[in-house]
Amino acid sequence: MILKLVTLGLALSVTTGASYADEDQIRIVGSSTVYPFSTVVAERFGRNTPYKTPIIESTGTGGGFKLFCAGNGVNTPSVSNASRAVKSSEVALCAKNGVKDIIEVKVGYDGIVMANARNAFDYSFSTRDIFLALAEQVPGPDGALVKNTARTWKDVNSALPNTKIEVLGPPPTSGTRDAFVELAMESGCKTFPNIKALKKTDKKAYKKICHSIREDHAFIEAGENDNLIVQRLRANPDALGIFGFSFLDQNSDTVKAAKINGVQATFENISDGSYPISRPLFFYVKAAHLNKVDGLGEFVAEFVSDKATGEDGYLSERGLIPMSSDERHTLNSKVLDAVSK
């Protein structure tokens, strides 16, 4: 204890007189899904403008908002990346700390794929199959809920092969997991009329049924590192993995995606909305920082420019799926108005 105090004392004396001003550099936190895109824009921005390259931390969407909403001081981040829209609880947290004016910027879409090794079986799942394979509880033969005991894909759907269900996916802290649960599991869950009816009467129970992933060895939490999942798929042809489209795009030599509801996970299908498991990506800008942090408005302008997030923009090469040009133009003109105010 004494030692700690001694160090603290030393530390204090070392740093007296140093300047803490950080206003000349943009700080960005948030989603690990937006991180690969945000960093590319930041690097170009740093190279092509007189401003410093923004610093980007990959904290996860929720963790990002916690930091972002901590206050309006210049030592708080100016931008928070998110792989989902901001929650009302997060808006409330921001407001409580004085962060009242935040600007939402939608950058494009990301698809979530279920992939397996290239030389393995070509799967085609319906979202119902996915729900029946991965949910904690499923409707039994008489319609009542029973614990999920499906062992092979054939148990789920007789058209599928007799292979053990083994799915590697992200942990609950991940935005990818949230989106997968909401888009794939829930839509499969809703195909059962009695569960769908439950949504109106008992929303909590409905959520519990549709959003709970089984905890036996059929679903394996594989951590946040998607490269690791890709490597494990290559080693185990029976396994499937859940990750973002950008990883599929970059690793198409070793893994391939399953069709979902008959739709292949391709750039075009995600872009036009026919692929069912896709989600919008956002970042949020602290309006109070626009005139305090150098280059913040210019950074936002670079991010929403055609060059970056347009149809042929440099982010599309990295696997970001751009919005349709109509949607982009309406949203972006609003954003540009807001940042230039």
């Binding site: 204890m1 004494i2 030692l3 700690k4 001694v6 160090t7 603290l8 030393l10 530390a11 204090l12 070392v14 740093t15 140093a18 300047s19 803490y20 950080d22 550099q25 700080r27 690990s32 991180y35 690969p36 945000s38 960093t39 590319v40 930041a42 690097e43 740093g46 410093k52 390259t53 610093i55 980007i56 931390e57 990959s58 030592n75 290239r118 946040e224 590192n225 998607d226 490269n227 973002g244 950008s246 990883f247 795009d249 970059q250 690793n251 198409s252 030599d253 990295r318 696997g319």
Partner: protein
């Protein structure tokens, strides 16, 4: 049993089972040897596996394009336009919009700057450059390292062994036949800052960040640690209070490192308001972490100095502080330094505490002072291993090799110090 043993003066009890006892010793030796061999085997496997994957990171591919003197004259210093027209004129069939895009995709984003540098140099010396060497893009780099012919002849064209198109592969093949492809040592890998373009990403920023962090860590923890150890060992009374302190120091040495990160976040960032992501805060957090290690190592090496040295000094009229600082500490110093270096080596490999204080981040500009945002070597490994782009797998292994090299250097220095200055009593 031989006659010799039968007739020996040894008691029957000690002779009995002698063979069994010798066999036990043999067995023990064998097991010990196997344990050492297994651990060496694992280490060798790790280094060889990473070495194979990572050696490519130290080399990069350049492409040569012939310049048209007239185009250079007309360019008026516009490197971007000149680069694109040069690529078009060098590659056959780069005329449609799609083909042009593919042609431009062969070179790195660095190429424009290299072209600019060439134009600037030419303008200064008033010469007319004939050719330009530019960096290839990461995909081309990987393809050249894998062998273009193998990719072109691949049986399964759909397998997507490379993200390059057939057209792009044919262009590279033609360039290779004309001797316009070269592989050279990738100095940028050691001096550049981080980048999302694998071919220009480097460890320079991370190495600088690690150096700054370790410097702060060493300055803070070594002096405080050594002073604390001297006080505890030589001056402090031996009572309940000091043994309580000793237990706590030993405890701190084994606390998971992320806890120190949380402490740093609460104290250095939130209470003191120091700059997030700076190597100053990183060094302070790591200093807290290494402090107990240094105190323990320093106390052990002070204990190893024979009491006769102290007694002789005191007997000749030295005060206690003179006896300790003139005689005991110099003898204990090699052990203290060894402890400090081993502590530093551990600090060099830490990522967890740095996560909490924002050093795990994309930071492109290398730091120039301890107040600048910085990353560290293990952080860079962590970040690259998570990148979707294939070319970063090679860079990750390359970065691990550099990190291991630094660790080997530090540990060798520790052993050298011990060998050179250690006194045997």
């Amino acid at each position: 049993m031989t006659d010799q043993l039968k007739n020996s003066p040894l008691s029957a009890a000690s002779v009995e089972g002698l063979g069994r006892r010798y066999r036990a010793e043999k067995r023990y030796r064998f097991i010990g040897f196997a344990a050492v061999a297994a651990s060496l085997g694992f280490l060798a496997f790790l280094i060889i596996a990473i070495g194979f994957q990572g050696v490519g990171a130290f080399f990069k591919t350049d492409l040569r394009f012939d310049l048209d003197p007239a185009a250079v004259q007309d360019s008026g210093g516009d490197a971007f336009g000149l680069l694109r027209s040069t690529i078009r004129s060098n590659l056959e069939g780069a005329s449609s919009r799609r083909a042009k895009r593919q042609a431009y995709g062969l070179v790195s984003s660095e190429a424009e700057e290299q072209m600019q540098a060439l134009l600037d140099a030419a303008a200064e010396t008033n010469t007319n450059p004939q050719v330009v060497w530019v960096s290839a893009s990461a995909e081309v780099d990987l393809a050249v390292k894998a062998g273009i012919d193998a990719l072109i002849n691949a049986q399964d064209k759909d397998a997507g062994l490379t993200r390059l198109s057939d057209q792009q592969l044919r262009w590279i093949k033609t360039l290779e036949q004309n001797g316009a492809v070269r592989t050279r040592f990738n100095l940028g890998f050691l001096i550049n800052g981080d980048s999302r373009d694998a071919e220009r990403a480097g460890l320079g920023g991370a190495i600088m960040g690690s150096l700054f962090t370790l410097l702060i860590c060493l300055v803070l923890s070594f002096f405080v640690g050594v002073m604390a150890a001297i006080y505890l060992e030589e001056f402090a009374p031996k009572n309940k209070w000091t043994s309580f302190l000793e237990i706590n120091i030993n405890n701190l040495a084994s606390v998971p490192s992320i806890i120190f990160g949380l402490l740093g976040l609460a104290v250095f960032l939130n209470a003191f308001g120091l700059a997030r992501s700076s190597s100053l805060v990183g060094g302070m957090v790591l200093a807290l972490m290494t402090l107990p290690t240094i105190i323990i190592a320093s106390r052990v090496s002070l204990q190893a100095v024979p009491p006769s040295i102290r007694e002789a000094a005191l007997g000749l009229g030295a005060t206690r502080i003179q006896a300790i600082f003139h005689h005991v500490v110099p003898l204990a110093l090699p052990g203290m330094l060894t402890g400090a270096i081993l502590g530093m080596a551990r600090a060099l490999g830490e990522t967890a505490p740095l996560l909490m204080i924002g050093m795990v981040a994309f930071i492109a500009d290398p730091p120039s002072s301890v107040m600048d945002p910085a990353t560290a070597l293990p952080v860079q490994v962590f970040l690259w291993s998570d990148s979707p782009e294939r070319a970063f797998a090679e860079k990750t292994s390359g970065a691990i090799l550099v990190l291991i090299l630094f660790l080997i250097l530090m540990n060798s220095v520790a052993i050298l110090l011990r060998k050179k200055f250690e006194k045997k009593w």
